[in-house]
Symmetry: C2
Subunit: 415 residues, 2 copies
């Protein structure tokens, strides 16, 4: 059907609100999911702060609330190629939105088994999707969720361009060659590594088979609610606050409500790009509606609306809530201070009017947290995944001095 | 043991002569192999032109011939992580030489199943090796066989550097940033794609865990015999001449002996880098003996000794043998003409004195072919793997005119 969108991983944190948003906007949505995220919760003894319902009940609630229905298939894309090919041939989607990857950097570094699961699942899932598109003979637009973390070399001198970088190469005879190359990757975790490897799948299948692909390099998502998830409590989106799956701003907001000190790792000088979940779902709809032309190279968008350093965010939340900021040893192997400016003019040109950080939106998150705070397990807040075996992190959270961190090393860049 | 080398894929075309060469030179060699190459022969109804013995018999012959013994373990590196980790802890090798990947571009494009096998096997094998090195806590030097085919943008203006490329990036304020980046990849097959993805595994595990890694971007290997394989007929190396696994020069030499026209695909203007199998084994020994220093980035060598266009090789072999050259439609999606100069000063600095193309060495290969020509299946000579589904290749080999191809578009660069 011309209006069908297949959402791989449509039960997850970004997948579910995307499914609702597309359904609400007239698309016929088919969700494919293997519930891996819910199963990882089981393994880690975690749970979403918000009480998410089983998918079948979510879908029933959506039918009741909106009068629209979505389809669902339980399938493991990385393992069940033949069933996936059959699904594709049956559904004949206009676009596939691919969220079906293990998406937490700390989880990907948790153990040898978690590293291997992340690589095996993410790479085989992406490759199976591309193989099946080619084998089906269908012209399906693939929209993939990448990550801002694929980019190396960040600097405040130059905005990170959207995927491609013009460079000059000097030949030995003194002449210069100008090329536009894929932005040099420099992944900082096994999870981010798989995203840089995905980019090579996309390069090849686009060049060799003409598959139309959009890769969305997304910043850190914050917030939890969208216009659709708030239509009924049964539609509530998941909300992670633990050290592996919780993202930094959401974690700070939870910590501020439950009275845990704000967990700043290292100096907090790491500058990161952010996007609110309301903008995530809008960007994906825009990407679906603006596919690359036939024969066009892989279209790469930076799906981020603002950049902040972790320290700045902690100060903001602390000012809003009075909560204490505490510094912990950094479990990651990363630069403690970095500059970052992100180009995002493509989504702006398509009409995106970004939701940026505001006290109001932060309060909305805190209201959700306050409602479900009785479900919060404080023991799950610290990050316990270490990047290398030699590292030790004081699990008790012995505070480090923040005074020693270079002040003003990074700036805020509102795009 | 300080002198132990673990060879993954040590029963294969490059692996077996490497194992013999290292054993002959005083290393304790442990071979790990799952015999996947022999099993693919079974599936395709192929066989090595030379009558290779089962590995246990090869090892017995080596003990008898040289008085040295090698160990062997039957293991699938991509599937049996725990056994591999145990092996590593038992053997405690000084270096691992990693040939355990599906290594033919045409085979990797043969079908959806072959694409998926290549990706799943090659990526999980490489990642399992890296994970196991980290988990073992051992300081093991990993020597990996990459491919010259990972490099994009070839030109006669500039030699392909060894892995890293200095570039200038212009910032919006007009200032210039100079960086040394990994050479931009542009894989032309699923097989080559996995090699570019391997490079990202190496980047990450080197940076995050300090794993010492040498990646050898090898040209097309030709020849079959080394000083060690010729010590006894029972040690003979495998020799592939089919459209999937045979490499171009070896195929031409077989064709010239059995009276098949030389199969030039497209204009034959594709320039490629070459290396003789005698140099392959020497380069690997040199790489083992010159590991990166602790903390050093991934060491990348171009393991190639000369470049030729396919057309030039055909003319050479035709001149030597009187065999007819015939042109066929190109099953690959590639530039029909390209220039290529390859930097290989690192191996030369370590003392490599390259074996280059000579009538004598070509005759040596033809003698081997003549000896076993009764084992040749002519029907296996054409390449039947198509790069895209829309392509058609005239399997009967309707000759195309070579007259129309641009003459002199590529030059020979002997390095």
């Amino acid at each position: 059907m011309d209006n069908t969108v297949l959402i791989l991983g449509g039960d997850g944190f970004c997948g579910w609100p995307t499914a609702l948003h597309l359904s609400q906007n007239g698309y016929h949505v088919v969700i494919a999911d293997n519930f891996s995220r819910r199963k990882i919760d089981v393994d880690l003894g975690l749970g979403s702060l918000t009480p998410i319902l089983p998918l079948e009940e979510r879908l029933a609630a959506w039918r009741e609330t909106s009068g629209k229905s979505m389809d669902f298939i339980l399938i493991d894309i990385a393992r069940e190629y033949d069933r996936f090919l059959g699904l594709l041939r049956d559904v004949r989607p206009r676009a596939i939105v691919h969220f079906a990857e293990q998406r937490a950097a700390p989880y990907s570094m948790r153990s040898s088994a978690c590293k291997r699961y992340t690589v095996d699942n993410n790479l085989n899932a992406t490759h199976n999707v591309l193989c099946a598109i080619v084998e089906s003979g269908l012209d399906v637009h693939l929209v993939h969720l990448g990550s801002m973390g694929v980019y190396g070399y960040t600097t405040t001198k130059m905005p990170i361009p959207e995927g491609y970088l013009p460079v000059r190469i000097e030949a030995p005879d003194g002449s210069c060659v100008e090329r536009e190359i894929m932005y040099p990757p420099a992944p900082g975790s096994v999870y981010h590594m798989t995203k840089t490897q995905d980019a090579l799948f996309f390069y090849f299948y686009n060049k060799n088979d003409g598959v139309r692909i959009t890769d969305l390099h997304q910043g850190i998502v914050w917030g939890t609610a969208t216009d659709e998830t708030t239509m009924s409590e049964a539609l509530v989106n998941r909300f992670d606050y633990d050290g592996d799956y919780g993202t930094v701003l959401n974690r700070f907001l939870v910590q501020s409500v439950v009275g845990h000190p704000l967990t700043v790792y290292g100096t907090g000088g790491q500058t990161r790009a952010f996007i609110h979940i309301r903008d995530t779902v809008k960007c994906i709809k825009l990407a679906i509606e603006h596919p690359p032309l036939p024969g066009e190279r892989v279209k790469i968008f930076n799906q981020a609306t603002e950049t902040w350093s972790v320290r700045e965010l902690a100060v903001l939340v602390s000012r809003l809530t009075g909560c204490e900021v505490r510094s912990y040893a950094d479990p990651r192997k990363e630069d403690l201070e970095n500059g970052l400016i992100v180009e995002n003019s493509q989504f702006r040109a398509l009409g995106l009017s970004p939701v940026t950080l505001s006290d109001g939106l932060m309060s909305e998150v805190r209201d959700v947290v306050a409602k479900y705070r009785h479900r919060c397990d404080l023991a799950k807040i610290p990050c316990t995944s270490l990047w290398t075996t030699g590292q030790t992190v004081d699990r008790e959270g012995a505070p480090l001095s923040l005074a020693g961190s270079p002040a003003g090393a990074t700036g805020i860049s509102i795009l």
